[in-house]
Subunit: 348 residues, 4 copies
């Protein structure tokens, strides 16, 4: 159920709606919009009677929500959500570019990476301090030391930091250092971690699981929003199929599919999405053309010596070229879209 | 094994190489290139001794081919193949746009479609006269009548015709009318049909099978080339995965993957590749950005009344807009690529 | 639409129903059952009026069929179909065992295989004279020579022959020699071939396609039945998934799923279904436990010298052991089922 | 690297080997076998020099381990591991049967379920107190209250308890009550949870992830063993594919594949593996025939009123019948295997 307030509804009207929701044992989610505020209801099993609300002052209408996901749904919030990550608007008019190595390996490596990303036009720096690895014997990340190196790179370059949290135990530490906290594909249905992310006060980057349907992906985001954190960026990073010419199959059709059903921004990771350096550039451009709000790309100052994922990391020069072409396509599509929405000029 | 001739090799030299190949019980495939001619050898089980050829006049070198596919491989022919379909160069600098209804339903419908495609900037007309249908009770196409209507639409609009052949029995008829003969996804491993296509004197559009690996896709093309028809266009049209937000999962990464391994051009079908009208436009643009040489799109003058696939067919106006944006992205990428390959201007 | 006749309906009643169906422009399929006959109607687009038939003599009722497949459906024919292949009842109480090499390679090889299969308790001999191969340069089978060798093996051992037809061109020849004609996985949606199989007077073994849904599988069988050949055996042989520990993923759940929806018998091919010799035995037993009506297994007198699929072929001794265990499980389940359906003994 | 001790090696010899391993900065895993002890080495990056160990007293040989998984590998431990869960030997000669509802819903429900499972011949009781649910608004389990009800059911019936732990936070509580702790499919690569499970003193039931390869599955188990808990049971529960006639595709071929590569026992969950009640029985029998060491089956006293997964839960009577047939097949295969391994009787 969604309670849509009138444009002229007061703060007091909204508070009264929330109080009524709570008195019924449910949970209220106030969602301010460009023109008017809506209040989502969760926690109900079965239907909520609309008449409980339609007589309250300031209420325009009470709308049943037909999808299993509610707070992430466009039914509940028609306007696009723009997530601010250290000043970068993800989901806004400009393409957001995040880049950096798979893992933080040393202070020098992450500093060098950050300078290269910055010089090539990147706006956010990625790099894992905690790494979920298939093998217990593989490099698992530098932990807090890695987080400190990331903070150092931010201090020098001004780039916001996107880094992964892999469990509830170390989440506090990641939240302290990061500008945006990544939940990785393997944890997309780690519901305890999602709840913790929902209580964070930093934006969350949620990666799609390897065999996640669109509905499961949106439901995972719903876990985060349902705890009160509405700053969620979705990320397509490839799904698992029979195809063997790439490490995963990058499913770009999920970009317009998410945009139709949800107000949350979606970006694309063409590095994990292909697993091969020479496929990153074309698939990154394809992602932008499909309408993605941003890219997250693996870039390493010396890919051949990377401790992980070197074969899919770009050289800094390759990223510079990619950033330029991606922005050019983004600008082209934006100007086309603006032209479409302009009324045709009328000759005098 | 590939015999590469010297630039100055004569016709006679080439003929002598072919004769030697045949005398060994193998088959020779003469492949003229921009600078020099190569001769492929097929039909051998196991290695062919290089020394049999290296002493012959005009021979530069004899190269073993490491892939299971030979004639489709870039090892054998480094230059891109450009396929001429009724004057449209598929695989050349310009994006090729083919559009039209799923099936030819009537003379009026195909004429109206052809005019709309032409007006919107399309260069080739698609439309099935023979339809492979999951159900024996579904509309199976108009057969030769449909082919005649297609020919009529060509006569009026000048658009070249791309239409499907579904079996060897009706192949002759399709070959008579079509400018390019489509082999559908379900027939990608119908080897008898592929052999027949290899003996056709018209270009072939070969669609990737629903669960085809890249190697199987190239091997299917190899069947066609091995019979002597080198005019083959590959087409990605989505593969079958667990994902349920689209009818198929459009695997755009196969575009750069094909281009790396093969000289054959590859285009994309975003209509079957998504199965949903609102996904066609973004995925078509994504395909162009990924480097596809063209698009094949379902367009119907009245999608809601289409006998098949109406829900994935564009309205003519939607196609016009798509064509404009697709060409703009294509032009952008081409100018970028040209800039990269230009030597920097030297001041006097 | 299905017209169910009364138990006492006469031949003349049935003929009159068929005549009425034909007079409406449709096609009648007479399906005799254990207790009464039904007449299926195909060829209609949209509903057939029940009242057209319900007044005719001998008609019990006219039932609309809710599935897209009709003739293969249990709605239309509740009793199991038993297909007789050279005296072996496939779909009956006894497990049917078909075995032999992937391809017929020579007279000696197929004779030796047939003797081994016979000695180990096999009832039918498999072996391809026409082989669909991924590569145009691979061994494509001995053609009619292979068919003659198969016939020779039958003459000596008495084993019925199951062999594949790969196209309409060579179908007549295969039909002449075979006791049961296989349509391979790659041809499951080769609709022209299916129609030809529907006009054959030999039973058809239809293999499930690599990425075929259950509905598509049944619709492929419907093509065959719709042409008048009701002797169809279905075969699960593994589907294509991300899993890489077997060549295909054997989907045994399709056995009870087919049995619920269709009256046609289904058998399992654990050789292609796993692609690895050491997985054939356990998965063959699993297939029998899941309720399969038979097995088709690759057995070669000398797997290491096989021209194709040697790594998945059993040695004759392995097949003997497999046949024994498979029959024991089959007998166990049969006796259990009989015990369940017996009324409890009443003490005097 | 694996250090294999001689049969007559002393405790002191083993301790000396461990000390040497630790002095090199690695970790030693003592693995006693039926005839002799082996010591696994983990924590090394790159090769460990064999000569460091081969001269030590009691050492038979130092073997490099070729797989990425070590402790779970048959190379390291050739004998089958038998896991004791509350007196039930999983991986031994007898089939292990675990059954019960998806979730603990009330004291009465779990008691009634336990009695039914016990009466039908089940040996272990399953039931979730903590439920990982796709929706944040779905029933999430009774938590500790549910654990207490499970303990009550154990007290009354004597059945050992198998229940899931979904995060590190609540793991202690689950460990306190459970006889075997389940790690669910969605958490198969929740590495923090796996490490915690590796420090538990109860056996772990590890379910295969929805799109997990065999290698990833074994690596997940390796995480648990690498922390010192060698009591791990693997469980196949279906993988995600395109097939839509079952909720998941039960991949029974992983049973012999695991048994070849690993010494750990593997059981099968035909309830989640099919998601449909009428498929549970045939696929459970198939699992036993494929060689699974046990079954875990959803049984509910009143499936139609279950809070979750009711449509895939068996009625108690159905489970009784299943248990009987499963044990009969298991006994049949065991007697066959014994007959094979007996020397033929020698006449006097």
């Amino acid at each position: 159920m969604l309670i849509v307030m009138r444009a002229q509804a007061t703060e007091q009207d909204i508070a009264q709606v929330c109080a009524r929701i709570q008195s019924l044992g449910f949970r209220a989610h106030v969602m301010p919009g460009a023109e008017r505020t809506a209040v989502g209801i969760t926690g109900n099993h079965g239907a909520v009677p609309a008449e409980e609300f339609e007589g309250l002052p300031g209420v325009a209408e009470a709308i049943p929500v037909s999808k299993p996901y509610k707070l992430v749904s466009r039914e509940v919030k028609p306007d696009n959500t723009i997530v601010d990550v250290a000043g970068v608007q993800v989901g806004g008019a400009e393409l957001a570019l995040c880049a950096g190595p798979c893992a933080v390996e040393s202070q020098e490596q992450i500093l060098e990476s950050a300078r290269a990303v910055k010089a090539a036009g990147g706006q956010l720096l990625r790099g894992g301090a905690y790494k979920p690895r298939t093998s217990p014997y593989a490099f698992q990340g530098l932990g807090e030391e890695g987080l400190r190196y990331l903070a150092g790179a931010r201090a020098e370059t001004g780039l916001g930091i996107v880094t992964e949290a892999i469990d509830v135990e170390t989440f506090d530490l990641v939240e302290e250092y990061a500008d945006c906290i990544q939940i990785g594909a393997r944890n997309m249905q780690n519901f305890s971690l999602l709840r913790r992310a929902g209580r964070a006060r930093k934006p969350i980057l949620l990666k799609r699981g390897m065999s996640s349907t669109l509905e499961e992906f949106l439901m995972a985001a719903e876990y985060i929003l349902s705890e009160g954190n509405y700053q969620v960026i979705l990320c397509e990073r490839g799904v698992r199929t029979f195809a063997d010419h790439t490490r995963n199959t990058l499913d770009l059709s999920v970009v317009p599919a998410v945009q139709r059903l949800s107000h949350l921004p979606i970006i694309v990771d063409p590095s994990h999405g292909t697993g091969k350096r020479d496929k990153v550039h074309p698939m990154a451009l394809a992602a932008v053309a499909a309408g993605a709000s941003g890219l997250i790309v693996e870039v390493h100052p010396n890919p051949d010596r990377a401790l992980s994922d070197g074969y899919q990391s770009l050289f800094p020069d390759q990223f510079r070229e990619l950033a330029g072409e991606a922005r050019a396509i983004s600008a082209l599509l934006r100007s086309r879209a603006e032209a479409r929405s302009q009324p045709a000029a009328v000759p005098a």
